[in-house]
Amino acid sequence: MSKPKTIVEKIWDSHVVHEQPGAPALLYVDLHLVHEVTSPQAFQGLRERGLKVRRPDLTVATADHSIPTTDRSLPIVDTIAANQLAQLEKNCQDFGIPCFGVHSDRQGIVHVIGPELGLTQPGMTVVCGDSHTATHGAFGALAFGIGTSEVAHVLATQCLLQRRSKAFQVRVDGQLRPGIAAKDIILGVIAKIGVGGGTGCIFEYTGTAIRALPMEQRMTICNMSIEGGARAGLIAPDETTFEYICGRPYAPKGAAWNAAVARWREIGTDEGAVYDKQISIDANRLEPMITYGTNPGMGIPITAPVPDPSAITDPLERDSVEKALRYMGLEGGKPLLGRPVNVVFIGSCTNSRISDLRTAASLLKGRKVSAKVRVMVVPGSQEVKRQAEAEGLPEIFRAAGCEWREPGCSMCIAMNGDQLQPGEYSVSTSNRNFEGRQGKGGRTFLASPLTAAASAVTGVVTDVRTLL
């Protein structure tokens, strides 16, 4: 009998093109996603060397990071962003790559459109010049972010040189209580292991709580693997996965569908396979999570006080927390609950899918957001936007006093003009609370769509369970 393998080992082994002693493995890439920010220098590199794109049929591009979320029929006022967006479309045209650009009805955040179009499938290797590529791991794909040099490698050869990572099992058992969701699980995991806890590792999320999650919540979890330091995070595919993919535009059809599902059923981790590291989270005891600091590992249950730096013994660690609290304008030992916020942002590749918007709308229906808070709802894609419109969600958001905008990364990365002003506080459903991430001097509390919606209503950091 052969040695039991993890899902990552199985995908890896079936994608090694070439391996020689002393060198990393040459790994084949099944799907390469491209966006405007990390690709221009890669295309330039190809031009300089006279190279073509080897497999445009395994490549797809979209505009998400620097695209405005305002009316698309208007010209883009930021000329540098406009140039970058035009450059993407020109590069795709020159190299024969399909591009869902500024005016495409399939435009959207790259990690939203891959799954929704059925491009992301179990057992694949998926890469993109973006660290949140791990999102696609929710389908049982080995998906990770790469740098621009590697974008060029994949464009030119459809391959990457890679070293094996350690296998890290993140086991979540039990049942989530009302008001608690995938975002709270992943913020809980990162708070437990820290932002460097998964360095050199790939997460595999297992356990009954993970199995019970619908696909879009699984994507939320895998999305933030990088925030725990892991380049990739996977969930083995199951019926939930197959049901989600079935019938999507690029999904296999007919006999090919049956053959694909049969293959996909085989890729889960074998009984007895060994992980290098392991942690367990009890879903029954999880509370809504929120971050207080300037990295995603600085998270606490929403009812807990902000840590007191004087209680931390490690000097560099104490400095980090002190520095973070200074930036955030917070005092150690005090609760976050009740702190006024200026902006609520519902969107990003973590939480901008239709189910996220439905969840937020369910809380905002029949309520008004606080007059002191600007609330931005940014759908993840044109498809999400259409679906939301078909369900009447924009009317709910607008009636509550929220802005309903065009799809893009928006205030998650603040490259497109959607940004916090210095000193402002946001409750944000995005993935990073780094200094200045949502605008220079802006202060971010990361939380779930429910916590964000609840805080929008009250105008202060709020435990959603008090509004359910």
């Binding site: 002393g22 060198a23 099944d30 790469i146 330091g229 990295n295 980090s320 490259m415």
Partner: protein, 204 residues
């Protein structure tokens, strides 16, 4: 790429853990389609105030930093976004190596592709180096990639890990793409046996 040679340099201390790539170069500067001029934006929000004036207390604005080629940073340097603009900005500023106890995976890979050497040292050496620089900002260390040693100001030589492939690429000044392009027959053979592929050109 130029081949990576041995060098000796002063150390720029940045005793902060988990420095993310949004700090190394803020996202608003990523709208460029070029690799050039990014040294101006390195650590921009830590380096300049609201009016764009240098903050005197920030290490990169202090005298004697010009010409230093080694950054000594806290644990888990380079976490967050995959932006290769981070090593581009660091190398354009003049850095050739970063010393830490650990590096985020994507940043480490990106650095090695840009002749920026991530040097991992054990926590005791890391602390000792910070202490030495604090005592005397002019102390120098030597980096020998072929021998994989970092020679401390007190003369101790500390070995550091580098995978053999990246080391050879750095020493020879060659990039990985050339190596991968030579594997085209193996790539074609692999493609011939792939099954169940998507086709993004379908319906376009």
């Amino acid at each position: 790429m130029k081949s990576f040679t041995n060098f000796e340099s002063r150390i720029v201390p940045l005793p902060v853990n988990n420095v993310d790539t949004d700090q190394i170069i803020p996202a608003r500067f990523l709208k460029t389609t070029s690799k050039q001029g990014l040294d101006q934006q390195l650590f921009f929000d830590w380096r300049y105030d609201e009016q764009g004036r240098p903050k005197p207390e920030f290490i990169l604005n202090q005298p004697g930093v010009k010409g230093a080629e080694i950054l000594l940073a806290g644990d888990n340097f380079g976490c967050g976004s995959s932006r290769e603009h981070a090593p581009w900005a660091l190398t354009q500023f003049g850095f050739r190596a970063v010393i830490s106890t650990s590096f985020a995976d994507i940043f480490r890979g990106n650095s090695l592709k840009n002749s920026l050497l991530p040097i991992v040292v054990p926590p005791d050496i890391h602390q000792a180096l910070f202490a030495m620089v604090e005592k005397n900002p002019d102390v120098r260390v030597k980096v020998d990639l072929a021998a994989q040693t970092l020679t401390l100001p007190d003369g101790r030589a500390v070995e550091f890990p580098v995978d053999p492939f990246s080391k050879q690429c750095l020493l020879d000044g060659v990039d990985e793409l050339g190596y991968i392009l030579k594997q085209q027959p193996a790539i074609a053979a692999f493609e011939a046996r792939r099954e169940g592929s998507i086709d993004t050109l379908q319906g376009v």
